[in-house]
Amino acid sequence: MALSEFQLFRPKTIQSAVALLAQHKGDIQVLAGGTDLLPSMRQKLFAPKYVLDIRGVEELKRIRVLAGGGLEIGALVTLSQIEDSEFIRRNYPVLRKAAMTIASPILRNMGTIGGNICLDTRCLWYNQSYAWRTSCGFCIKKDGSLCHVAPGGSKCWAVFSGDTPPALLCLGAEIEIAGPGGTRRIALADLYTGLGDTRLKIAKDEMLTRVFIRESMSGYRGAYQKLRVRGSIDYPLAGVAVIVKSSGRHAPVQDAKVAITAVNPSPMLVVGADHALIGRAVDEHIATVVGELAARTAKPLTTSALTPEYRREMIKVFAKRAVLEAAAG
């Protein structure tokens, strides 16, 4: 499958990148590592007239410990850089654990954290070639008005399948978005629309530039559990990130967060999971309760491999395991 013709821009600064976005608003697509965008362009899921390759913006390739504490991760930091960062391993282990499960070493060398956060949603009926989609009458997400997953419905259920965002949600990450009017900073949780087609609350002339994690979130124990059929290269079919803070293995939990991915159109924090955990020593029972809460948050449909019922069950199992793993440190 060939790429359609497009004009490539390679800006060196955020300002010129944003200016190009504004100038070609709607006809232009940001390219970071390209590991998600390029296959999709071959399938004609995107056919932008202009492609904005932002890899020339050097300042976005850094992981920086901030003077006032906390961490800044440039949008172009690769997943391998995150994996290799000793600082992240020590202070925000959940992020590293999640990043390490992504695709394969080669793809992690190319794929960026920004791309992982802005990853397009996925669906069996969407991630197909143009000719194939034609034969099925297309779908709501692209070129059509049907949904093959929830027939009769008008909502797109394509699934967000990035591995790092649930970890970042647990860590309360904030993101910086640059636009023609300058930058704004929002909670990562506010980036996602909850819908498979619109997916991101980011304007057509904006781009993601940085991720911030507060210092107060360092030192949490973390775990990321990912359901995958195959041991090598597999998108998550369900994923659960958990962070726990306590003074010791059997000590009561002081703070905790649980987030899930690959079972909804957005990554989601599991509401109530912190209350279930805080003030108690983690055991099998509490972990199971958290699993139930997580499963209630998950709305898997037939968007990918394996049945929805199965994936919902697995959210329980993986949430339970992630809680136990995080507590055990």
């Binding site: 060939a2 991630n127 034969s135 090598s232 394996l306």
Partner: protein
């Protein structure tokens, strides 16, 4: 070579073990460096000057009729050089992805634009893609019965009461002539049935709805009913293997150039270099002698690349239209998975009867499966074991799922799953170690009984089977359960027809030409090893030319026939060449030719090795003109046969199953395999390693998932059509049975046998771990969980 002095001994034999220095050793592939460095050229890498990119408009529907085709817009597009309607108006299409129109354009993007610009109108027809549900009613099960229906029922041994009831209820469509009744009576049809037919109501034949199901003639051996009565233990189960695809990493296709004088040059990805031109001649309307085929490397075929397919034909036609510019027509990944290869499915309900001591008495099966629009035959069940009493019935299911192709050991992996899983369930019911159960009945395997017995002993040692085996259901605490399973298999593998030319030059250079191909199995290396052993010179002094239809004809690489064919023709050609070298060199050594041997780069007097010439010196006596010789397998005029048929192997798997998630992990596999005389121990072992990995893929992941609504394949990409990667490959232990009792049988093929058993062995290991059978492969997590929770099996996409 071993001395050719023994007058009673034919010159064509394999050297004795003590005389072998190359054959049977471990030699790395000669083309390893070029492949691992990326220098090796595959068809895909062939980009001659002026190349056009070929692409197909493919049917979007699983079953339809082409109503109209409008190519005018595409033809007018800049860069589009040729357009060829392949299946025009009126054509009925039986699977999604079938070829409708071919285009050739200056590049891929333009070809894609052209494909999109071609307007095809289809009349969509109903499709059927479900092969895994148990067939409900075959055609003969409704409406008045025709003579054929009745004959079918007789052949299927439908019980008399049922035939009579049907005849009474629905009537028949023909006047039953006395001859028909007499003939039926002679075939053993009961009088009561004949009477019912004689007095049946005659009704007009009705157009029966076309049924995808077709019953095949039932088969009975011995007295199954009596054997079930005699049985002390009866075991019943449901087993199945879905349609999977070949998923060649290098897709199918060719680059064809139509040259002056209607001569065409074709680079093609094939398993069958010598057999291609003949298949292309007729559709192209030119003599086969005008077609020149070449291929140096192929990125996987597994049985799916014997024909030029429509793609290569259309590529040549497009090239002709485009004035002779070469056209590359290689399948996109999606098409490769949708249309270029499918292994038939097989499902069965099996019922077995045995004595308490494990003696197996009877096999009964009701099986079904599909090979696509043509339906699907019954795999060879019961596999390997000739159970004394049998009753088999089979329903062929026709689907709109794309046509079947031979897949590495056609029908054997399916037969192994249906048989060895049923045996394993019986052993569990008998509370017996399945190895003990198979050994108890091993005489039913016929001539291979001894081989299997020895192989089980070896596999036991390598797996620690007896010391580690536990009864069904791992009782240890925690969600992870561990288990072991086993299976065995057989295959023919006699060498195919093969010819080669040897040229020995006066400077000692040696050249071999053979119209064979190296599928990545190490064929090149094996040919060179045999030649080097025979001529007594190192491999790197021999030049081997293969992969060209101008070379002497050698068979297609299918049925594991290549190694037997090429090793035999090479041995014969080399012996013939050496004889001539000896004749020229003998005077210089004051000896007669039959007193000479060749080894270690020398030609010498066997009885007095101090009298010797170097190979170069010996060849210098040839004179100005090189020596030529031919090698031919088989050669009925000059026996014996250097190749043989009938390999046996056993395999064991050790797995862990996470009973909370249903995820299966293979911890270790052991393969013990015989293939007669091993030419290259290293590539023989590699063949088994590869087969185990492929086996893990189809046991755990592979399935061609067709959507019932659209009839399209849902997982025609390598994200959802999963193959095992490094992270999924466990410890693999391979042992080749060699030495006395094996070597003297001659060379036997190995490509297919080791891929037969992994499915059954892994399924049995899972059953052993979790205590219940997961009926169908692949053993996806949701299926494992539903088996554990005894819910109905779900067919989730995986």
């Amino acid at each position: 070579m071993s001395p050719v002095t023994d007058k009673d001994k034919t010159p064509y034999s394999w050297p004795d073990a003590k005389d072998r220095s190359v054959i049977g050793s471990r030699v790395s592939r000669v083309d390893g460096p070029s492949k691992s460095s990326g220098r090796a050229k595959y068809t895909y890498d062939y980009n001659p000057e002026g190349l056009l990119f070929g692409l197909m408009v493919r049917s979007p529907y699983a079953h339809c009729k082409v109503k109209s085709v409008d190519t005018s817009a595409a033809e007018k597009m800049a860069g589009v050089k040729a357009v060829k309607v392949v299946q025009g108006p009126g054509s009925e299409i039986f699977w999604a992805g079938d070829d409708i129109v071919g285009v050739a354009a200056v590049d891929e993007g333009t070809a894609e634009d052209a494909v999109r610009a071609i307007k095809v109108e289809y009349e969509v027809l109903p499709h059927m893609v479900d092969d895994w549900s148990e067939p409900k009613s075959a055609q003969e099960d409704t409406g008045p019965l025709s003579m054929d229906d009745l004959i079918n029922m007789f052949q299927n041994q439908v019980p008399d009461e049922d035939v009579i009831a049907r005849v009474k209820r629905d009537g028949i469509t023909f006047q039953p002539a006395q001859e028909f009744l007499d003939a039926a009576g002679k075939e053993g049809v009961d009088k009561s049935v004949l009477a019912a037919i004689r007095t049946a109501q005659i009704k007009p034949a009705v157009q029966k709805p076309k049924s995808p199901f077709k019953k095949q003639a039932a088969k009975t051996q011995g007295d199954p009913a009596a054997a079930f009565k005699e049985s002390e233990v009866v075991s019943e189960g449901l087993y199945g293997v879905p349609v999977i695809t070949h998923c060649c990493l290098e897709p199918h296709g060719a680059v064809a150039a139509w040259g002056p004088g209607d001569h065409i040059e074709v680079q093609i990805s094939t398993q069958n270099v010598s057999g291609m031109a003949g298949q292309m001649a007729e559709p192209l309307g030119i003599p086969a002698s005008n077609i020149h085929m070449q291929q140096q490397n192929v990125g996987g075929g597994f049985g799916s690349k014997f024909s030029p397919d429509r793609w290569a034909i259309v590529a040549a036609q497009l090239s002709k239209q485009a004035g002779g510019a070469p056209v590359k027509m290689m399948l996109e990944r999606r098409a490769e998975l949708e249309v270029a290869g499918a292994r038939p499915s097989a499902f069965a309900r099996v019922k077995l009867g045995a004595k308490k001591d494990g003696e197996l008495l009877v096999w009964q099966s009701s099986s079904w499966g599909t090979g696509g629009p043509g339906g699907g035959g019954m795999p060879p069940i019961p596999y390997v074991f000739d159970v004394p009493n049998q009753r088999l019935e089979h329903t062929s299911v026709a689907t709109n799922g794309g046509p079947a192709r031979a897949w590495r050991a056609p029908n054997h992996p399916q037969a192994a799953v249906l048989t060895l899983c049923a045996f394993d369930d019986m052993a569990a019911k008998l509370n017996m170690d399945p190895m003990a159960f198979l050994l108890k009945n091993i005489e039913m395997t016929g001539p291979r009984a001894k081989t299997y017995t020895e192989e089980f002993a070896k596999a036991d040692e390598l797996m620690g089977w007896k010391s580690r085996w536990h009864a069904r259901g791992d009782k240890t605490a925690g969600p992870i359960k561990r288990g072991m399973g086993l299976s065995l298999h057989t295959w023919g593998g006699r060498g195919h027809a093969s010819n080669c030319d040897f040229t020995v030059y006066p400077d000692g250079a040696v050249e071999i030409k053979m119209g064979t191909q190296d599928l990545g199995t190490g064929t090149r290396t094996a040919i060179l090893m045999v030649a080097a052993e025979t001529l007594g010179i190192p491999i790197d002094q021999i030049k081997l030319l293969i992969g060209d239809s101008k070379y002497p004809v050698s068979g297609g690489s299918g049925g594991s026939t290549t190694i037997g064919g090429v090793s035999s023709s090479t041995r014969r050609g080399a012996v013939n060449a050496l004889k001539q070298v000896f004749a020229k060199a003998a005077p210089a050594l004051n000896a007669t030719p039959d007193q000479l041997s060749a080894k270690g780069g020398k030609v010498f007097v066997t009885a007095d090795p101090s009298r010797s010439l170097s190979w170069k010196e010996a060849c210098a006596r040839i004179g100005a003109m090189p020596i030529t010789s031919q090698g031919k397998n088989p050669n009925k005029q000059e026996p014996p046969d250097l190749t043989n048929s009938g390999a046996g192997g056993v395999q064991m798997a050790d797995v862990s199953v996470d009973t909370e998630t249903g995820i299966v992990t293979v911890n270790k596999m052991v393969a013990v395999q015989d293939c007669g005389l091993v030419i290259n121990l290293k590539t023989a072992e590699s063949q088994c390693y590869g087969a185990l990995i492929m086996g893990i893929s189809y046991a755990l992941y592979e399935e061609k998932v067709l959507d019932p609504v659209t009839g399209r394949m849902l997982n025609a990409d390598m994200e959802h059509y999963r193959l095992a990667g490094y992270g999924d490959i466990p410890e693999l232990v391979v042992h080749m049975m060699t030495g006395k009792g094996y070597d003297e049988r001659g060379v036997i093929g190995l490509g297919e046998p080791p891929v037969i058993s992994p499915g059954a062995a892994i399924s049995n290991a899972v059953a052993n771990a979790i205590g219940v059978r997961v009926p169908f492969l692949p053993l996806t997590p949701d299926r494992v969980l539903s088996a554990l929770h005894k819910t109905t099996s779900s067919k989730g996409v995986a």
